[in-house]
């Protein structure tokens, strides 16, 4: 009897727990688990969005890895953005944050100035950048030529298009700056004082006091930065389109990546394959690759966090 009561109590408790968890469970199932399993399922199907899907085995996988000419360039570009852009954004955001926390007067003005670009819509910001960096008419190249520096082709040159994109992302570093400023202002002053008494130099104070204290924020910035770089779609697409001069008109099909596939990213491929080529199977393959890469990067960073985040953080 008591066992039954205990069992029913446990069941009720489990139900109560499930009821409280249900909003998350429903969200997780509908918006993550189901799409995830569907993506895996469709990656083995031939599906154009109109006719019922048919089994195609590993055909989509073979096509993407061996025959789809955009996959490897897009993967290389995406990894480039992840490694170079994220690193520079974190360093730049931290640098700006440090500078502004050190400024005695006018900090508010600088904070606003550095934060404002972050608020610009991505399409508008990219178009403005493409205009500024136009190799023929842009003010950036005019200034460079005036001071005798050879002016690059920026978004029109395959070797300069990604650095140009990186500059665009650095320009919008206001979000990281604010986060780092909050973290830097949170570092206990007495630790700096103690380090100073011990004769630590400015670099040593930064290395042994600041970095350990803000390491969780650095980790946050790196992980979110990596995920955002993996999902980079709008800016490279708009930059490529504006620079190429190709506006979708009568009978033309714009394929992203100008110049010479240098601004292709994996999310662009998902859109191109799925919604423009009606090849959902291959689009799902690319989506899964993107997911696997994001997971791998995040797992790697989380494993490394032991060296970055101190015990008790």
């Amino acid at each position: 009897m008591s066992t039954v009561t205990l069992a029913s109590k446990r069941r009720r408790a489990a139900l109560r727990t499930a009821a409280f968890m249900s909003p998350w469970l429903i969200g997780f199932t509908v918006f993550f688990a189901y799409p995830m399993i569907s993506t895996l399922y469709f990656s083995f199907m031939h599906y154009d969005g109109f006719k019922p899907p048919t089994w195609s085995g590993t055909k989509n996988w073979t096509y993407v890895f061996e025959s789809y000419p955009y996959f490897w360039p897009a993967l290389r570009n995406t990894l480039w953005l992840v490694v170079i852009t994220v690193t520079l954004r974190v360093l730049f955001g931290l640098g700006i944050g440090l500078l502004i926390t050190k400024i005695k007067t006018g900090a508010g003005v600088f904070r606003t100035l550095f934060y404002l670009p972050y608020l610009a819509p991505p399409v508008a910001a990219t178009m403005a950048f493409a205009f500024l960096f136009n190799p023929g008419t842009g003010p950036v190249n005019s200034i460079l030529e005036k001071v005798g520096i050879p002016a690059p082709g920026w978004f029109n040159d395959p070797s300069w298009s990604k650095p140009a994109l990186t500059l665009l992302f650095l320009w919008g570093v206001g979000d990281l700056m604010v986060i780092f400023m909050a973290a830097l202002l949170d570092v206990p002053k007495e630790q700096y004082e103690a380090a100073e008494l011990d004769g630590a130099s400015a670099w040593q104070r930064f290395r042994y006091v600041t970095i350990p204290n803000i390491s969780p924020i650095i980790m946050f910035a790196v992980v979110t930065g990596v995920i955002a770089a993996m999902q980079c779609y709008t800016q490279p697409l708009v930059a490529g389109k504006v620079a190429s001069g190709v506006i979708q008109g009568a009978g033309t099909l714009f394929e992203p990546g100008y110049p010479e596939k240098s601004t292709l990213t994996l999310p662009q491929l998902i859109y191109n394959l799925g919604f423009q080529r009606f090849d959902y199977g291959s689009a799902c393959v690319v989506a899964l690759v993107l997911f696997a890469l994001s997971m791998a990067f995040t797992a790697f960073l989380m494993r490394r966090r032991g060296g970055l985040i101190q015990a008790g953080d």
Partner: protein, 444 residues
């Protein structure tokens, strides 16, 4: 079974159950059984967006509603291909019954996927022969492997615009008829300025707005595919000839880098600062719409119009050009296909409707009768485009199972070849042909 295992099994089963219901979207209806004489409202989606174009569509639809008082048309404009594709997949009461698109390259995709219904039975029932109604090229690009899932709704013909004033200054008396004449004229018309140009005879680069590979190739009459559906770009000499002609122009006019740098200084294609309007380029490969735009920009020179040059060994075919245009079709998800057909029939085959619409938006009429109609009003120079459209030698790019993917592949080779990244054209064309065949096999 332990509780945790039961829960996991339940979750998995739920997922599988969900999966089995996943692929039930956008299924086509078969056949049309609605009563076109009954009171009904249909949705018509189009891509036009300029105020005069939107007004012209309204007027076209008003004419239809007057002729068919029982059918009301809900018009939705400024629709991109991506939105149309999604609506065709999803269906529903707000989705288009009739759609139109500027992208003729998508016809193969629309037909093979069943997104749009085959119009052949409707044409037969109405006793209209498309082959005798539409110009040859337009009749060709609106069908795929016998499935006519679209009809032409006005067309675009590509020709040559030239600056008559610059021609006179350079001592050129007539527009070039062959590519070798064209090359000589382009060089004569080019005025250098420092490391750039004061005036460029012609912007040959593939990114120069309408100077795409398919538009160049239209003048060479390539086949693109053999009877078995395999790509012929590696074996058809017309393709290689088009590539080498363009590359020679690029090299002769200053080289790729110099031209690209100059191109980056030029105004955009759809604005008043288009380089042809401003006199920065003296010749322009473009569609018939450019004439109205150029006149509106009030350039300080007289505009000349002619067909594009042809290869020297095809001089007898001078007058042909590349043809494309707007297409219209009926959504497979539509529950009102007979009413939708009445609209498609009216806007694509009614001579007065086609002429009126053509007069309003300055596009090429898409029926043989409309091309000859005395009601057609146009600037005498526009006649060049009407003649190109009616020319039996005029070409188009054929519909393909996966839409315009093969054209993108050719275009990408073009980018590599003009910039010097690909030096061996034969190897490049062979690789392009293999890629095209692989892409089509993937789409099957």
């Amino acid at each position: 079974m332990p509780k945790r295992a039961r829960t996991t099994a339940f979750a998995l089963l739920s997922s599988i159950a969900l999966l089995t219901t996943a692929a039930c979207t956008g299924q086509s209806t078969s056949g049309a059984d609605d009563d076109a004489s009954a009171e009904t409202t249909i949705n018509f989606w189009h891509a036009w967006s300029a105020p005069n174009e939107v007004k012209a569509v309204k007027s076209l639809i008003a004419g239809f509603e007057k002729a068919h008082p029982n059918i009301h048309v809900n018009v939705v404009g400024n629709m991109t291909d991506d939105k149309i594709n999604q609506a065709l997949r999803a269906g529903g009461s707000k989705a288009p019954d009739v759609m139109s698109s500027f992208t003729t390259n998508a016809v193969g995709k629309f037909c093979s996927s069943g997104a749009l219904v085959d119009l052949n039975p409707f044409f037969e029932k109405a006793d209209i022969d498309p082959a005798k109604t539409f110009p040859t090229a337009m009749n060709e690009y609106t069908q795929f492997e016998g499935d006519r899932c679209t009809a032409p709704l006005l067309g675009d013909a590509y020709g040559l615009y030239y600056n008559k004033t610059a021609f006179e200054k350079a001592g050129i008396t007539a527009p070039p008829k062959t590519w070798s004449e064209f090359e000589a004229d382009a060089k004569k018309l080019t005025i250098p300025q420092g490391d750039s140009f004061k005036q460029l005879g012609f912007m040959p680069n593939y990114h120069g707005w309408e100077t795409t590979t398919e538009h160049y190739m239209g003048q060479f009459s390539p086949t693109y595919f053999d009877k078995a559906g395999k790509s012929t770009v590696a074996t058809d000499p017309a393709v290689a000839a088009a590539f080498t002609t363009q590359k020679k122009l690029v090299d002769e006019l200053g080289g790729y880098q110099k031209l690209e740098k100059y191109r980056s200084k030029l105004g955009d294609e759809w604005g008043p600062k288009h380089p042809f309007h401003t006199g920065q380029v003296a010749m322009q490969l473009d569609g018939e719409w450019r004439l109205g735009m150029a006149l509106e920009a009030k350039p300080g020179f007289e505009i000349g119009v002619a067909p594009l040059p042809v290869p020297d060994d095809q001089a007898d075919q001078y007058g042909k050009g590349y043809i494309t245009g707007t297409i219209t079709g009926i959504a497979a998800t539509s529950k009102k296909q007979n009413a939708a057909w009445e609209l498609v029939k009216y806007i694509t085959t009614d001579t007065d409707a086609v002429v009126g619409f053509s007069n309003a938006i300055h596009n090429v009429p898409s029926t043989l009768d409309a091309l000859k109609s005395p009601k057609l009003k146009y600037d005498p120079r526009f006649k060049t485009f009407l003649d190109i459209a009616a020319n039996p030698d005029s070409t188009t790019s054929p519909a393909s199972l996966n839409g315009g993917v093969y054209l993108s592949t050719i275009q990408n080779l073009g980018y590599d070849y003009e910039s010097g990244r690909t030096k061996d054209l034969k190897a490049g064309l062979t690789a392009a042909a293999q890629q095209i065949d692989t892409d089509i096999a993937q789409a099957k």
